[in-house]
Amino acid sequence: MSQEVEKYSKPTRILHWVHLVSFCILFLTGLVLFIPQLGFLAQDSVTRVIHRIGAVVFIIAPLIYIPMNWQATKRGIKEAFSWGASDIGWLKAAPRYYFSGDEKDMPPQGSMNTGQRLWWLIVLVSGAIFTITGLIMWFAKTSAPAAVLQWMVFIHDVAFILAGTMLLLHIYLGLFHPLMNEAWKAIYKGNISAEYAKKHHAKWYEEVAKSKEVKS
């Protein structure tokens, strides 16, 4: 058996999955409004009620997670906004890597590689936008001026396009890309092989190796 390291804590994994499921619900029930042929699904406000249930989970889940995992939250947010030269190197090298598996030129990465952090940043920003514009559309629907509501729809929609396409990418990379099997394991089981960690998250692995005993 090869050595393993804990990539994601249990609360983090639960948050991830709860958030992912709620986002998918929101994604799909929102998507209905873009496909007239699926309009029948929205009849009698059914998908819109589900959308609201999804939204409640989407908003509440992090609110429960954050106070209980304050350090991880802080670290995560910090990471989302820490960008450097290596990220540019990663972005340059990434296409080759993702199309051919050629790893040379890929700079060493922290716990999240540049791509993952980009996604993480989008999740944070779009989540905030979804929440704010969504709540306005929900609760100020009969009181806010029509123009305000219309622009809220617009912004919600922009966020949807951004987050929606990135979600596709995220799921693809996590589930289907030929190289990414261990990332899936990380968020599913929490652990990844030390070998994988060394290879894909070198900087992070060094930190972890320094501070903790490697699990056998």
């Binding site: 007239p36 309009g39 009849q43 993702y98 219309q150 396009i161």
Partner: protein, 272 residues
């Protein structure tokens, strides 16, 4: 051949038979109202009031005028509501009206916000968001479709003074222009046919003896910038981005798998 309603304010006596006929034909219940110091009632359009008459007293040059205006769907050609309706519950009838299949309504309320005339209404449960929009369908509501029978809408049918007419839109434009000319001859310099060109041509046009603003009608109504930005820019862009992403991922999958398999084979060959 597009059809339309021509509403001649100068012939309207605000008897409100149209308001009652609308409720009668469309099986809409009465609202509980109070006298608010005016004849006008109910206070606003609602899911059960699709048509109401507005009363306005003005005193230009010391002469009292009592103006009556119809408040109902204007059945635009460039209809903001149809543009934003996600489920195509609102659609253009073959005769040009903005018809409505209530079954398909999702209750999103986008049409309410998109209407330049502030016409669609819904009863919304603010917590659940459950809602159904309602508005004048020009008597094309399924099951209550007068137009399909070749009849005029209920409001037109009941109008005692022919202030409301229903006919081919071309004919009514000609008729409306004629009325405007005769009003101008009679000294109404600002007489105009409202709706002839507004929003690609309305299917409810007004003969006005004065500027639309005097009748509190929007001057040069437009589909809002938000509607345009959303429907004409962002939504197509969204589809493009979404489509390209899916395409790109598919491509990546095939290329990457081929490359990686080749590498593997190489390794296997090398290893064996």
């Amino acid at each position: 051949m597009a059809k339309a309603i021509l509403y001649d304010t100068t012939k309207c006596t605000a008897c409100r038979a149209c308001q009652v006929a609308c409720k009668g034909w469309n099986e809409l219940p009465a609202e509980v109202t109070t006298n608010r110091g005016t004849y006008e009632n109910p206070a606003d359009l609602s899911p059960t009031t699709w048509l109401k008459m507005k009363f306005r007293e003005i005193e230009p040059g010391g002469k009292v005028r009592w103006l009556f205006t119809r408040r109902s769907c204007m059945h635009c050609t460039d209809a903001g509501c149809v543009k934003v309706c996600p489920s195509k519950a609102l659609y253009h009838h073959e005769l040009g009206f903005v018809a409505y299949n209530k079954d398909l309504c999702t209750g999103c309320g986008y049409c309410i916000e998109a209407c330049p005339f502030d016409v669609p209404r819904s009863d919304r449960n603010l917590l659940t968001g459950i809602a159904k929009m309602d508005k004048c369908t020009l008597c094309t509501t399924p099951g209550l479709d007068r137009i399909a029978e070749g009849w005029e809408p209920a409001c037109v049918k009941t109008c005692p003074t022919n202030a409301l007419q229903y006919d081919d839109r071309d004919k009514l434009v000609a008729e409306g222009r004629k009325r405007v000319d005769s009003l101008r001859d009679a000294g109404w310099a600002n007489a105009n046919l409202y709706g002839e060109n507004e929003l690609g041509g309305l299917h409810v046009m007004y003969v006005l003896d004065d500027h639309p603003s005097v009748y509190e009608l929007p001057v040069n109504p437009q589909i809002s910038a938000a509607t345009v930005a959303w429907q004409d820019a962002i939504q197509p862009l969204g589809w493009a981005v979404g489509g390209l992403t899916v395409l790109g991922l598919g491509l990546n999958y095939m290329v990457a798998r081929a490359n990686i398999n080749r590498e593997k084979e190489k390794k296997d060959v090398a290893g064996s």
